[in-house]
């Protein structure tokens, strides 16, 4: 009896970050009802405090291993993504606070939805159990659906939400169906049981088969299940072939929401995906049967990666809207990150984590720039930026750094990320040949240079008589900070490397 209580208490203590976020979300909701303010900084502050507290707990819990209620497992890998999510969500909240067009709306719910999406991601990346994974994913998705359609009166927003929800529902269904097939062949929902890491199912008490056995009995079924589950993930990370929604939804949604989708929820999707494939295939002690199958999966992932980055970059080439261009570029980056996963070994996983970290700085910076200028000029086209470069250097020079980093040119953090990815692609798991993927990655960064430099060109190389935009100090400070970090971690990226490496306890 007491033992049970102890167990509960211990589990709750392990779940403290999640609980903090839940309480924060509820507090925000209630205070919104109480204060009834349209334009509230205080709510945002509360949200930030909550996120900060969660982040602190995550940092302090760094290195602790454990499983709460047999479902939620605490490890550095999950910790990395939780930290990432809370940081990204915090930035999104800051964006909302800085963007006066956003504050027209029911601000409390806005924060509430952002926070609950974050909670969903927390659970999604923090579990070995497919059921909980699906639940977390759905929680995040549901919140995101409503966020995408948050500007109720706007057609574009509504359309974005509609597309998002339909596509999301479909891919959720596909994923769940795939999971059902996997359940059919293995008889369990726990990845560790499938991989054979755990002998007995921590939750269910049925008889379970490991994936190796399942592969012998019905390989076709497993393959189908893998593809379907991959489909579900690739919706979340907006990779081919489930990326079609991304440009439209990113364009239609409010910019802070776009930021959240492009950074936080994408990273969350990667967290779940990497945990899934990592535990099932990459873990050190998989049988040779699984190892052989791993390489096939790796090839599939490589194809997906190549297709994603190429499609994203090509489509981005001739965009006239900065927002849509960034949407495509984030699609392409999903492809880049996938390269690391496709390598199907620890180095690859590390590379992916590292690149996500790099992606955090440069993409948040780019979206901050977008937010600032769409707020100033009211437009999101490249034209509206003509000749702005010299007029607002504190905003545009960081943007140049972000773009260069997104292209992957030293000494920016984006380059070191790409370096790791190339590294991974050229030294994948044995039996896997991904040299072509490395070349494809290189060529893609050349292509991407073209459209990234179009922004620079419009900003600096062309002239206009537009008035100088009025400054927005906090945003400038934020961008400069991000730019500094982009360069700093580009030159001294050991901390990021250690962070990524520490996340590899997933595979032990």
């Amino acid at each position: 009896m007491f033992a049970l209580q102890d167990l509960h208490l211990q589990g709750l203590s392990l779940l403290s970050p999640e609980l903090t976020l839940v309480t924060t979300a509820l507090v925000v909701l209630m205070m919104d009802l109480i204060w009834k303010e349209r334009d509230s900084w205080r709510l945002g502050a509360i949200g930030l405090v909550g996120l900060g507290a969660a982040a602190l707990q995550l940092v302090s819990a760094h290195g602790t291993q454990g499983t709460a209620f047999g479902l939620v497992s605490i490890d550095n890998f999950g910790g990395f993504f939780k930290l990432f999510t809370s940081a990204a969500t915090g930035v999104c909240i800051v964006f909302v606070m800085l963007d006066r067009r956003e504050r027209r709306h029911r601000i409390g719910e806005y924060y509430f939805l952002l926070l609950s999406a974050a909670i969903g991601i927390f659970f999604m990346v923090g579990t070995y159990n497919l059921l909980l994974l699906v639940l977390g994913l759905e929680l995040a998705s549901l919140a995101s659906y409503s966020l995408a359609g948050f500007h109720k009166g706007e057609k574009r927003s509504a359309e974005a939400a509609m597309k998002y929800v339909v596509f999301g529902g479909l891919s959720a269904g596909v994923m769940v169906f795939g999971i059902s097939l996997l359940y059919a062949v293995t008889g369990t929902l726990d990845m560790r049981v499938m991989s054979g890491a755990l002998a007995i199912d921590p939750v269910g008490e049925g008889v379970a088969r490991s994936l190796a056995v399942a592969l012998e009995q019905s390989p076709g079924m497993v393959a189908l299940a893998m593809i379907l589950i991959l489909g579900g993930f690739s919706f979340k990370i907006s990779s081919a072939p489930f990326h079609f929604w991304a440009p439209d939804v990113y364009e239609g949604s409010p910019t802070p929401v776009t930021t959240f989708l492009a950074v936080a929820s994408k990273a969350g999707g990667f967290g779940a995906l990497m945990r899934f494939f990592g535990v099932l295939f990459v873990a050190p002690d998989v049988g040779e049967m699984v190892a052989a199958y791993r390489n096939e999966i790796g090839m599939v992932l490589a194809l997906v990666a190549a297709a994603t980055m190429t499609l994203g970059n090509l489509a981005a080439l001739r965009q006239t809207s900065l927002k849509r261009m960034l949407a495509y570029s984030s699609v392409a980056h999903a492809g880049y990150v996938l390269v690391g996963v496709a390598a199907m070994n620890q180095a690859g996983m590390e590379a992916s984590l590292f690149y996500l970290a790099a992606y955090y700085f440069m993409n948040l910076g780019a979206f901050g720039f977008l937010l600032y200028f769409s707020g100033v000029t009211g437009r999101e086209t490249l034209e509206s930026l003509r000749g702005m470069g010299p007029k607002a250097p504190m905003i545009t020079v960081p943007m140049v750094i972000f773009l260069v980093s997104l292209t992957g040119i030293p000494p920016m953090v984006g380059f070191t990320g790409k370096l790791q990815l190339l590294y991974a692609a050229m030294g994948p798991a044995e039996g896997l040949q991904l040299g072509w993927l490395a070349v494809c990655l290189g060529l893609n960064s050349v292509i991407s240079l073209y459209y990234y430099m179009r922004v620079v060109r419009v900003l600096f190389l062309e002239d206009s008589d537009e008035p100088r935009p009025e400054p927005q100090v906090p945003m400038a400070v934020f961008l400069c900070l991000m730019a500094f970090l982009t360069v700093w971690f580009g030159l001294f990226f050991t901390p990021l490397l250690d962070l990524a490496r520490s996340g590899m306890d997933l595979l032990t």
């Binding site: 040119i409 050229m426 060109r457 190389l461 001294f492 990226f493």
Partner: protein, 524 residues
Amino acid sequence: MDLLNLNPENASTLLSWLTFLPLIGMCVVLMLPASNLRAIKIATGLFTFIPLVLATQMYFGTFDKTVSGYQMVQHFEWIKVLGINYSVGVDGLSMPLLWLTTILFFVAVPASETVPRLSKSYFVLLLLLELGVLGVFVSLDFFLFYVYWEVMLLPMYFLIGIWGGPQREYAAIKFFLYTLAGSVLMLIAVIALRLDTGTFSIPELVAIGKAGGFTGPALLGMSFTTWVFWFLFIAFAIKIPAFPFHTWLPDAHVQAPTPISVILAGILLKLGGYGLLRGCFPIVPDAFHHFAYVLGVLGVIAIVYGAYVALGQTDFKKMVAYSSVSHMGFVLLGMAALTEWGMNGAALQMFTHGISSAACFLVVGVVYDRAHHRDLNAFGGLAQPMPRYWALATIAFFASLGLPGMAGFVSEALTMVGAFQSQVGWTDEAIASGWMWGPFQWLTLIATIGIVMTAAYILWALQRVFLGTLNEKYQDFKDISAREVFSLAPLLILCIVLGIFPWFVLDWMEVSVADLMQILTFAG
């Protein structure tokens, strides 16, 4: 020979100081108010002058030209996890080029006087560019090398794109795309080497390559070293620029403002040749041996083809640009010949062409600032209003024509004789049957066409611009000003001094070139 002697007594921080002085200067310039352009110019001049002094001191003082291996080495771990080190050092190949770099950047500052829309950011970018160039020349770690290599791109993009001619944006992005494409190939090759050997350090890679220690897999029927060689070669050949990859050069040159053309032709092209000598050939000497004659052919094509295309130009600057293509062909030919003289000639050619082409671009700039066009056929008789200018221009152009007694001749003669001595592709029966003749002998013979054509286009241009009847539009042109002379004079003096005393540079290169040859011939 000691590839990387890290013994403490010759370790020094001089090179790091040299490399990062421009960065300091950049910060200083950033501090200055944008309105006070004069102060900014003075500061930039100062912070290009200090490196010049430092490099000169190194060249004549610190650098010991009699010992082989790297000197003034500084070496510490940068990113331990990936085995990336910050290791810098110079040898006889890089030291002269380093000196040349500081000279040309110092010259470029007064030459920037007439750049339109001149502003603070121009000088900031100029200093940033110098940082990148110096870094490439000193770095002994491939990762560091690559970082500096890419650091050059962005300033160059802006310098061409903002302060360039009418088609500047097009030229700038073309330059950027071309170079980045090359860099990506280089990056892939470097990573392949790293995965294979576990080190980024160039000297270690050289040692491993010398020992034939690469174990990489063969792909598509080509061996690992072959892949690495071609990837690296293309990366550097784009910078040189070698024949098929040269088309970015004319646009970049024509659009860039004068000082940037000076730097572009004077140094950035040399980076390609330097990269080949430092980072490509010694690492995969066997592949280099195998494809040497291909390189020779490319070089000769560049020589002849470039000369002909230059002859066909009506734009003064474009002509000079194509002449660079032609002259850099000699570098390739000399390297490919695999002879002491050829290698010395190529190395020297990089230096001398750096001087003479820079001088030529300055000369073109002078006339462009007055006439605001560069159409060769629209000039004529300019020697009458501006005799001093004619004299200086004559020196510059005859130096690049390769007139004996001037810098160009020495390197070209060395290259040609060296190429003629080459025994690459000789068959045993050819040697046995006293008729000692092979591919490179033919190539040298063909290259002589290029020499004659060089004389042709330069003389023709001089005639069309300076001689004959004066176009009265230009009656009242001012003769070359003191500032222009100030930027032009050092180069011309060097042109003549090097023509009479080539050992002024050759002595510095000789030992390193000998080591290099020893590595390269070792494999063959």
